[in-house]
Symmetry: C2
Subunit: 192 residues, 2 copies
DNA sequence: GTCTATACACAGATAGAC
DNA sequence: GTCTATCTGTGTATAGAC
């Protein structure tokens, strides 16, 4: 009864996993078509230019993230719990095989990406930073947190720490490192 | 009277600048030979395989960093000043054109790098982390700092924050962002 | 040590049959 | 929508002249 998932979505699924691991430039149309049992020309039918594919990839990822963040806000009014849930969300994108956040990888590729794609990545980070800022602000206003700096700057610091933690953990083949740093970074937000 | 700088070193100079910007895989032998006024075959004479070039690149970068860190230790006994100098060192590798720390870029490329090269990158981060740990430990022992967590974990957090800050700042074409986050991260070490 | 020339693989992309 | 076939560019790397 269920419709077969359309090819464009499955292309994006495979492409995303590959890009999360190797980066945008190190993934080819053939890399993507192979696991799907189709030919690279078929991928071009759905995404004529690689830039098209890249933009669709980031947009879909950002939409998905937006939904997750919205869900967290609805699930709890506590800043502590919101931040913990935010950290949990990272666990869903990090894999032992080396996959990390799509946009963290693309940030590394940024200077080689088409400008239109780089802007999409930038928007992803803005989304995260704005959300974190609001969570910290709200926690401060309600008295749950006692921030020692502006919510904007602390949000930026937390985001940066998580980005860097993913890179460091992956480079040293030590996924546990992300957890340790992530937990500590959040604790810092609560303690500041 | 001064000897002409040997070609191998100049190759590494050009290669490093290019890799700091685009990453390892997005830099070709022709990209490197062009600015030097030679042909790509000449680069192969000095570094037969690209992996050879990559390893030399990271080793030289790490040696240079080791010297800088040693210099900082000799220049001041204060943890505060040492951390500030450490941040200053980042300023020498970050450029408005998009160049950031060589090993931060290579961390993004890690899964596509030859294993021997990845290990060299890992060593670079270990070097930084060990140094930072010692600085924090020393500052704590002397009473200058009051750490609220282990020096190891705080060093990891600081390193991760700086890594991430470089990526975020570059992605949004806002070099000033690195400064702000970096300063705040160091302040966190002093305040913990 | 640097050159020209070239081998070989693979990339993104397109044309046209089915 | 997917295929085969192909174009064109570029990458790493090597052979051999100078």
């Amino acid at each position: 009864m269920s419709e077969p998932v359309d090819t464009a979505q499955r292309i994006l699924d495979v492409a995303q996993a590959l890009v999360q691991l190797r980066g945008f430039n190190a993934v080819s149309y053939t890399d993507i078509s192979g696991p799907l049992g189709i030919r690279n020309a078929s991928v071009h039918y759905h995404f004529p230019l690689k830039t098209d594919l890249g933009i669709s990839l980031v947009r879909r990822y950002r939409r998905h993230t937006e939904e997750q963040l919205e869900t967290i806000l609805n699930a709890t009014p506590s800043a502590r719990q919101r931040l913990n849930r935010y950290l949990e969300a990272y666990r869903t994108v990090i894999h032992p095989d080396g996959r990390i956040c799509l946009c963290t990888v693309l940030a590394g590729d940024a200077p080689t990406l088409p400008e239109s794609m780089r802007r999409e990545v930038e928007e992803f980070f803005k989304l995260n930073q704005t959300w974190l800022t609001q969570v910290l602000e709200h926690g401060n206003a309600s008295g749950e947190l006692q921030l020692r700096d502006t919510p904007e700057l602390l949000a930026e610091l937390l985001l940066a720490a998580l980005e860097g933690a993913m890179l460091l953990a992956r480079t040293s083949h030590a996924p546990g490192r992300f957890e340790a740093i992530g937990q500590r970074a959040i604790k810092a937000m609560l303690t500041f």
